[in-house]
Subunit: 130 residues, 2 copies
DNA sequence: ATGCGTGCAAACGATTTGCAGCCGG
DNA sequence: CCGGCTGCAAATCGTTTGCACGCAT
């Protein structure tokens, strides 16, 4: 059902190589630099497809921009993302999971879900910034 | 410093009366219905001002739209929102704050910020659902 | 009187979509 | 060969901004 085109392959490969959160626009630029340019619209469409297929993690930045990255694990987890370069660390926090569950329960809420993402500046980017 | 205009008053009053999360556009429509119409740009600007002044809580939906609601407390906190009726409880969690800071730091990240929202079904809605 | 606040429309940035031609299966 | 995929440009959508005028202080 999913046709394998050169642009889809290029995008998947690019994400595979970094494993960091990147925006559609960044990926578009990176592809162009690599000489494997693809239309911006195609990048967007491909990212959506892959995300729907569960092959990519997606999240929205504070500024409202969507970021995608190659999944490393399917289980529930959160992310610590560098707001400058997109470098990502997957973290699981039994502590917060419990906290969320406990707090929700204490207010009589059930079927509790949570959205938790951490943003920061990684050591490398902090150093470069001067 | 903040000048009190009729549109600012109308917006504040509207938010005060619902205490629910609303988008700028929703507020704009509600104001028009009330016959207290204000320019859409003004609504946006006012919401930003109020949010910066710490008088409004702001969050971004999954779809990327900003929502605002009247604060009940000024300090940093998170929300527990009933996904059925929208009822919101403000929660603070020194535990998670620390956790976020600690986890971020342990990976060498600095200037750590976090996005944490809890969604659940409140006791009342859970009871009604049967 | 001053100059912030407002309204309107144009500008914006991210994302989507219409459509004709391309190409993978 | 056929229909999904692509590229491009135009279209959306939410939000922001430039500018001239109005009104709160």
């Amino acid at each position: 059902m999913q046709r394998m085109t050169k642009q889809r392959a290029a995008i998947a490969e690019l994400l595979e190589s970094t494993h960091d959160f990147k925006s559609a626009q960044q990926l578009h630029d990176l592809l162009r630099e690599r000489g494997e340019a693809a239309g911006l619209a195609t990048v967007y469409r491909t990212l959506q497809n892959l995300a729907e297929a569960g092959e990519l993690d997606a999240l929205r930045t504070e500024e409202g921009e969507m970021l995608y990255r190659m999944c490393e694990r399917a289980e529930h987890h959160h992310h610590l993302v560098c707001r400058s370069c997109g470098k990502t660390v997957e973290i699981d926090g039994p502590t917060v999971e419990d906290w969320a569950q406990r707090v929700g329960g204490s207010f009589g809420f059930s079927e509790i879900e949570h959205t938790i993402e951490l943003f920061g500046t990684c050591a490398q980017c902090a150093g470069m910034r001067v």
